[in-house]
Amino acid sequence: MDWLATTREAFALLFSGDADLWQVILISLRVSLLAMLIATPPAIAFGYLLATASFPGRRLIVVTTQGLLASPTVVVGLILYLLLSRQGIFGSLKLLFTQEAMIIGQVLIALPVLVAFTISAVQGADPRARETAVSLGASRMRSTWTTLLEVRFGVMAAVFNAFGRIVSEVGCSLMVGGNIAGVTRNIPTAIALETSKGEFAQGIALGFVLLLVALGVNFALAFAQGEGGMK
């Protein structure tokens, strides 16, 4: 195989606006961004609660969440597959092999990442931040919001890490999406399956895009932190 020629072909595909290729990229971004939109608000609220409140079972939930951080995505996919398949409890919803199924899977994968990172961000907050807000008359909502803003770079790290994980995961998307061209074929499943059929150029082009997304997210985070000019 001629690497140079294949790479050149990959960039030609990318910049010529190859419709199939760009469809894969758009599906990936659409699914992962929607999953983030759904997962982020409740996960941050729950993480804040776990970091600040004390109630029975709190410790257990925190440890479980940290354990789930490294859960293999293919296992999440397997469980979701069993739930969504025709014999499964949610079989009647007919969600298997749809974008919705992929979104559900990615939400499940993102949640522990968001919650665990939010917990450590909030626990790292200066206790005087919330006390000051409360003493100045802030409601519970406002003092929570103020505290989250004070640790916003930690919370942003939670969001970027979760996004990085779901946008690049193969296992779950493959299990519950099924790699259907134009519907559920996203960047990772396309790379994993199309390359094995000899579509090297497409694989390289998509791999390049995925790297770019991952790097872009990290640069955005680093830039935001730099702007913050923290001590």
Binding site: D126, R128, A129, E131, T132, A133, V134, S135, L136, G137, A138, S139, R142, T146, L149, E150, G228, G229, M230, K231
Partner: protein
């Protein structure tokens, strides 16, 4: 003078077998100033934080303005009358202006109504020349002045100030003392935890000396229990 604004009976707090607070009764009169002295660990900060609802203690009874109050389930309306300022004040990210208007915005004021109040507080605290400095870059004394302005702009009836002049150099200390004596003169109730001679000797200052969680002397005289 005027009647009591805050009466707290039977304040107790301990960690394990260690007694941190044991005050049979604390009465604060409206418009009076009080300074809590006592060695390190005698419970000054803890007492202020309990009164501010930031820390829990057993309290037998508490009355504010004659009205019964549960300090364990701190009412929002009491928070609006009473403000605690940390020994090392915490300034939020943003600007000095944002910090000073925080409490006013929490009270639902719109910009047109809070802006003149904030400008007045900035002038009062003498931080007008610092408005472009990011809050976390301010010196300890400047932070303390911003925090005092942030509290005063809310016109609370009671100020609880924890060692406002500790760790400040001579000039910063003088500026803080000037602001504090101004608060004391403004017919507000001020309670300070403090080791600073100059503050202790301010005119009309009531001196409460604490030892091992208890108030041992009141203006030099023994406290009868």
């Amino acid at each position: 003078m005027s009647g009591p604004i805050l009466v707290v009976e039977g304040i107790h707090k301990s960690y394990g077998t260690r007694r941190i607070l044991d005050v049979p009764v604390l009465t604060l009169a409206a418009g009076e100033s009080y300074v809590l002295t006592g060695e390190n660990g005698s419970g000054k900060s803890t007492l202020l934080r309990v009164l501010a609802g930031l820390e829990h203690a057993e309290v037998v009874a508490c009355r504010y303005d004659g009205r019964p109050v549960d300090l364990g389930n701190y009412p929002d309306w009491l928070r609006r009358d009473l403000i605690y300022v940390h020994q090392h004040p915490y300034l939020f990210r943003g600007s000095i202006f944002d910090n000073i208007c925080y409490g006013l915005r929490a009270r639902g004021l719109i910009k047109a109504s809070y802006e003149p109040l904030v400008r007045e507080a900035i002038a009062w605290a003498g931080v007008g020349a610092l408005l472009d400095v990011p809050p976390h870059k301010l010196s300890g004394g400047e932070k303390q002045r911003v925090a005092l302005a942030r509290a005063r702009v809310l016109q609370p009836r009671i100020f609880l100030l924890d060692e406002p002049t500790a760790n400040l150099d001579a000039e910063a200390r003088q500026q803080a003392i000037k602001l504090i004596s101004d608060l004391c003169d403004a017919n507000r109730t001020v309670v300070l935890a403090c080791h600073d001679r100059e503050i202790i000797e301010l005119p009309r200052m009531n001196r409460l000396n604490m030892g091992r969680g208890a108030i041992e002397t009141w203006n030099g005289g023994a406290v009868c229990v």
